[in-house]
């Protein structure tokens, strides 16, 4: 498909916009997309080739974060070049563009499956796996159930440990 703006180059960025109740579509080459501030990085980057291989449904995030990851210092442009994130904090820093990117890559943006605090073996009186700070209500509910179970079997030490997990910041484990 040819770029709708310049009419010369092959389109690389496919944009869907919602205006009122109407969806408008545009196909732009990477240069025109860059001109309009819609660039998503360098066309040759691994992620770009990955995305162009995913059916060309490359609707770019409108706001590319300008700040660096506060933990590892990665810039969004570095992510676009390498196709790799630098640390877990990058997922928070670049949450917005990542959210739509993940949806495009996987066709979904919600994890289903194994979680650190929900594995079956954690119920068998063994140490509870690490709880993730910022984990939602489901984990807290699970922890509360575990506390009740620990109290029921009179394992008060375990119940106290779980209560601490439920309350506050996590201790550093495994180091």
């Amino acid at each position: 498909m040819i770029c709708g703006q310049c009419g010369k180059n092959e389109a690389a960025v496919f944009l869907k916009q919602l205006a009122g109740n109407k969806v408008t579509q545009a196909a732009l080459c990477s240069a025109c997309a860059e001109d309009q501030g819609l660039g998503l990085g360098h066309p040759g980057s691994p992620l770009m080739s990955l995305l162009s291989g995913m059916g060309g449904l490359l609707a770019p995030a409108r706001t590319v974060p300008s700040r660096n990851c506060r933990s590892c210092g990665l810039r969004f442009s570095q992510f676009m070049d390498s196709g790799r994130l630098g640390c877990r904090e990058c997922y928070e820093t670049f949450q917005k563009p990542l959210s739509s990117l993940l949806k495009r890559i996987h066709g979904a943006d919600r994890h289903v499956g194994l979680r650190p605090a929900a594995r079956p073996s954690a119920d068998s009186g063994s140490k509870t796996p690490a709880e993730e700070p910022g984990t939602g209500e489901a984990t807290r509910r699970l922890l509360r159930q575990k506390i009740q179970a620990a109290v029921a079997r009179e394992d008060f030490e375990e119940a106290a440990r779980l209560r601490d997990l439920l309350r506050g910041p996590h201790d550093k484990k495994g180091m």
Partner: protein, 350 residues
Amino acid sequence: MQLQNMLRFRMAWSSPSGPHASVVLSSRIRLARNLAEFPFPWRAGPRARTAVLQAAFAASRKTRALGAGAYLRLEAFEPLERVFLAERRIISAQMAAEPGQSGAVIGGRELLSLMVNEEDHLRLQALDSGLSLISLWGKALELEGELSRELRFAHHAHWGYLTACPTNTGTAMRASVLAHLPALGLSGRINDTLRRLSGFGLAVRGLYGEGTRVLGDFYQISNASALGRSETAIIETIARAIEALAKRELETQRSMAGGPDAWRLEDRVYRSIGILAHARTISYEETLQHCSHARMALNLGWKIPVNLDALNELLVLAQPAHLQMAAGKELAPQERDAMRAALLRHRFKA
């Protein structure tokens, strides 16, 4: 040549004992995990990478599956030995090339293993013969559970396990099989078949993963996405698709062998046997191609001088680094090709 001893041991995945082993060489479950406290390996400095390596080794030593395993710091090995490990599918080609502060833990029969500081801090893998994804998932889950009691993994409430590459985010699981599809290839039905597989959300690559062409009709088939479906749902989809694929491949083999052009197939197979039994020099690529025909001959019950077990073992032993490890020294390409031909002649002598 510290790793030379490994040549004496058979890997679980190289014995054709698993379900559908005539079509499915091996299955693999790979789980990526990162330690929450550290930057991902490519952003981490030598000190952080070393700390990850130490933490991963310490945690592994407490597990049942890997506690008594072999613990390798890759920098301590020669480049040839690292390629040897990559040929055994214990480490990636990337790790063989850049071993800095990375390591591997290898369990019994090389069924479970752990890569440390590859693209992610941990890449846990379970690898076995035939279509064995469901049993491998059980083994991988147990090991992952044991490790998770010692290590805090990077995890997000909505996005699941966090990985360096967003294509792995979520379950961070790659479930794959290595399938041998010669009849679908010869009959020209392969492209149609691969298109159907992609409809199931599966990705297809050549034998040695990304960026390589398909050698000897061996295809690696894996889940294309990692987020939004549970590990078991992904595994069940692949297992069902591969069962159907194996059936289709064997049906195609039988119909080719019973059809009017059967003589062509027979001619092709026995020419390959002739080359394997008599060549004086042969590349690995050519070996794969002829071994592919030999495997099909075994499925059809045709008489050839080797069995499936020997063929699987040859696919491993005829690889370049394996030959050099057996020779105990580095060999020039033409020396390797001559040594490979001698190995094949020995196994294929009638």
